[in-house]
């Protein structure tokens, strides 16, 4: 397999796997950013890029809110509500048991009940391949 094919293929794969548009809570402050590039090192979806030595947000809708960029930003130029994009975990969390969960603005972290109560045996939801792969 030649290199150009591989590159094209990987690009198309990334586009194919884009989730809902315009939902991410990612916020980036141009003023606070010192363009150290740490965010480009940690983001698994190349949301950030470097253009002429300056960090830019190049693919906002690819953000999965894992929180790696914000956690590793030395100047707090990046803010995001980090959480797990897992419907199973949301269902297992206390969010679903409160009335009004289906209304906009009702929030959860997406962590399971077990994560809220560490005393329980399983440290994870145990649903699907999320926590074992």
């Amino acid at each position: 397999m030649d290199r150009s094919f591989k590159k094209r293929h990987s690009m198309s794969t990334n586009r194919t796997f884009q989730y809902l548009k315009g939902v991410t809570t990612l916020q980036f402050s141009r003023e606070l950013c010192v363009s150290c590039g740490r965010c480009t090192e940690v983001c698994p979806h190349a949301v950030f890029g470097i253009q002429n030595g300056i960090v830019i947000v190049q693919d906002r809708d690819a953000c999965m809110e894992c929180g790696a960029c914000a956690k590793n930003c030395p100047t707090s130029a990046i803010q995001v509500r980090a959480g797990v994009g897992c419907a199973y975990a949301v269902l297992a969390s206390s969010w679903f048991r409160k009335p009004g969960w289906f209304k906009r603005g009702s929030q959860t972290t997406g962590y399971c009940l077990q994560a809220d109560a560490p005393s329980q045996k399983s440290p994870c939801c145990g649903g699907g391949g999320c926590c074992g792969s």
């Binding site: 809902l20 979806h45 809110e65 897992c86 440290p123 391949g129 074992g132 792969s133």
Partner: protein, 354 residues
């Protein structure tokens, strides 16, 4: 091995997999003992590392450690295993157990802080959601770099002098990566679908039996159960659609929301079924369509729900996106599920009347 800076003798790791390791990996892929597949946290030596050897950090899910040591075959390395409660690096980072505090704590208790030579920590990129590199560097004097996402890229990363390519930094979700998730998902769906089929059939059987008594056509309960079972049997492929076909066909299915993709998959199934029946069995399409509508509604709701729950197994869905789709999808799925069941039960009620 130069371990002067370490107090007790350091445990060693092998860089090859034994049959037992392969068997263990196979078992956890089927969800067997997945939450107790752990290693003791701490510092391990691979080969004969010294003061200048960098430290690789990972979690104590044994499969994570196994992939790391296999990738480092033939090399010397320090491997620092954090206590992530037996969970893989990415999930543990999300929960914070693969985190800043635990990393600093392990560096202290293993004596690594006294390391004199190269103070370099190589963390897996997917550990970044839990670790603040800035804080670790400040607290320990170690330099923190994030290595590639996949362990198999580590040899190329080391050989190029710790340079990553764009491809090493991006998560993928290839056909094979989706395929290996199927066993765990399949295992989780078998019992619930058999249970659901049993409950629906038994309630349905009472409906047929009851109405047949009133209508004095007097069916036996066994016959009623058989009629009811035959009615609900077509929902059994729900697992096949939801946890086998759906992950495999994921990139081909239209839409962005998983719940929609799941429903589309069942629509494809319906079209295929109608086409095949019409072409080969020459069944009139309209009468067939009317017969399969309740099954379509029921299956689409259930597969849509399973598909939505697959979001947690993928590496690209965000919490905000999941919440947005759940708010709309869950009421629709619940509605479809109830309509489908009631439709079939009402059909059964009619069957009892001669």
């Amino acid at each position: 091995m130069n371990t002067q800076f370490l107090s007790p003798t350091v445990a060693t790791l092998s860089d090859t997999w034994t049959l037992k390791d392969y068997w263990g990996a196979f078992k956890v892929r089927w969800g067997m003992g997945r939450f107790s597949y752990r290693m003791a946290p701490g510092l391990y030596a691979l080969g004969t590392p010294g003061e200048e050897t960098p430290v690789f950090v990972t979690g104590n899910y044994k499969l994570s450690v196994d992939h790391l040591r296999k990738a480092l075959q033939g090399r010397d390395a320090w491997i620092l295993i954090l206590d992530t409660k037996g969970i893989n690096v990415w999930c543990a980072a999300g929960k914070g157990t693969f985190g800043t505090e635990e990393l600093i704590h392990r560096l202290r208790t293993t004596g690594l802080l006294e390391k004199k030579g190269k103070k370099l920590l190589i963390l897996p990129q997917l550990g970044a959601p839990g670790v603040s590199a800035t804080e670790v560097e400040k607290a320990t004097g170690f330099r923190v770099v994030y290595g590639p996402i996949r362990a198999k890229d580590i040899p190329a990363y080391l050989d190029s002098g710790l340079k990553t390519t764009e491809q090493m930094r991006r998560v993928t979700f290839s056909f094979l990566e989706r395929l290996i998730l199927i066993p765990v998902e399949l295992k989780g769906i078998i019992v619930p679908s058999i249970l659901l089929l049993s409950i629906l059939s038994i309630v349905g059987a009472f409906l047929v039996w009851g109405t047949s008594l009133i209508g004095s056509s007097s069916l036996s309960f066994g016959d009623s159960l058989l009629i009811s079972f035959k009615t609900f049997f077509p929902i059994l492929p729900v697992g096949f659609f939801g946890v086998i076909l759906f992950p495999l066909l994921l990139p081909l299915l239209p839409g962005r929301a998983f719940s929609l993709k799941g429903a589309m998959l069942v629509l494809w199934g319906l079209i295929t079924y109608l086409t095949v029946s019409h072409t080969f069995l020459e069944v009139p399409i309209l009468s067939l369509l009317f017969r399969v509508i309740p099954y379509f509604i029921l299956l689409a709701s259930m597969v849509s729900f399973l598909a939505m729950n697959f979001t947690g197994s993928t590496p690209f869905t965000s919490l905000s996106g999941v919440l947005k789709e759940m708010r709309i999808a869950i009421p629709v799925q619940m509605g479809g599920f109830l309509v489908g069941i009631l439709w079939l039960w009402i059909d059964l009620l009619k069957r009892g009347i001669p």
